[in-house]
Symmetry: C2
Subunit: 253 residues, 2 copies
């Protein structure tokens, strides 16, 4: 049984706490946040707004904004056997007095939507090899998939995630916007969105590419550009089309 | 029982023929293509390379490249009760001698991946209202969801589909490319891709948006731009980030 203090009450903290409650190998003994109001959802745990009241634990999991991670880590009382791990994709492995580690879940979290930890990629980096094994066991007890990812790789992953999650979601919004201007429900696009995401489970995106840019269908591309009245959408359409065309020309596919 | 001649042997034709074979309400009586080689997969149907040998049918379904649709439609022998429908998102409702119609499935098709017609949006437009009912019944017998979509709306849908399918897939490729340069498997991004696509089934993309652009995290944006060595990716990152920032500033979200 690994005893955990979770520091932070945002989306990632919330989902970790819920997931740890489902496994017998872990117990959240305390939740810390500087803001007492945000702790009210965690009444079943010991909670504290003061770092000095923090309990002893096997793992301190820092789920706090990137620019506050180091400060919080430094203020945690030292214990030679405790691991202090943050969950950020962007922050490198810290070099504090503690046994430093990273426990980065590569997923998008919202408080009002359940997230399955089964098969979720957990990217682990540790100062000490024995801690890597401990954190791997914890991740596996959540059903997650463990990846050994160093700080530089993790920063690239975080960047890749912006493309495949944040930017993709923005393109979904543009699709929604185009539909609603013509009084079409966004629902009509959902099966296509689902299929596009599922396709890459069996095919590389490079092979799954379809559409006017891929087949250099200039007539359709020109008509689409004329249809777009918002200059911002026009620019995005042009840049993404050029990017696809350059890719397939360079590969002569 | 509606008798169908399918004209064309590409991805869309292939999946329609497979789907019609599963329903008792439809029978594909013939498959036409100008190229005999491409017909060899359809030996269980009457096949022909010559329009003049085409059989009589209730529905002629033209699954052929956009720029050839009108020519093929004009060459189909006239029969006052037969519907001649094309399946293109871009081509308007034709005005031929026939009972013209459109039967546009809003989905991405590849020959080597099965596509479910259940819940698939079928966008129907017809010259005559009675034909709309016939085609709706056919679509429903496939389990598809029927949408009444006129030519102008369909062109906008086709454009929206480029954003949410073709461009999204290109962003998946960029994610794959970033990973492979750091010796990370693309598999690590797949749960995130799946979750991002699933999220919009319960939330509007406008509300589901996360990431550094949404929260105007300039430190992370600058670091990401420094990480990107390919100027094309840098441009796309900048444009997509600006587009997200403008959106949320304009809405003051």
């Amino acid at each position: 049984m690994i005893k955990i203090v979770v520091l932070g009450t945002g989306n990632v903290a919330y989902h970790f706490i819920k997931a740890f409650a489902q496994t017998e190998n872990a117990e959240v003994v305390q939740v810390y946040n500087h803001d007492i109001e945000s702790l009210k959802y965690y009444t079943e745990y010991a909670t504290t707004t003061s770092i000095s009241d923090i309990l002893k634990a096997d793992l301190y999991l820092i789920c706090i904004k990137d620019d506050k991670v180091l400060n919080v880590a430094n203020s945690i009382p030292f214990n030679e056997n405790s691991i202090v791990a943050h969950v950020s994709g962007s922050v490198p492995l810290l070099k504090t007095k503690h046994r430093d580690a990273v426990f980065y879940p590569l997923q998008t979290f919202s408080k009002d939507k359940d997230v399955s930890f089964s098969q979720l990629p957990l990217c682990i980096e540790t100062e000490f090899p024995s801690d890597y094994d401990k954190l791997s066991l914890l991740a596996e007890s959540l059903g997650s998939k463990v990846y050994n990812v160093n700080s530089q790789q993790r920063q690239e992953l975080h960047l890749a995630a912006v493309f495949v999650c944040n930017f993709v979601n923005h393109l979904y919004h543009i699709g929604d916007d185009i539909c609603s201007r013509k009084e079409l429900p966004f629902d009509i696009l959902k099966p296509l969105i689902k299929e596009t995401a599922e396709k890459i489970f069996t095919k590389k995106p490079l092979e799954a590419q379809t559409g006017p840019a891929k087949r250099s269908d200039e007539t359709t591309i020109q008509r689409h550009l004329e249809q777009l009245n918002r200059s911002q959408y026009k620019d995005l359409y042009r840049y993404l089309t050029t990017s696809i065309q350059n890719l397939y020309e360079s590969k002569k596919l």
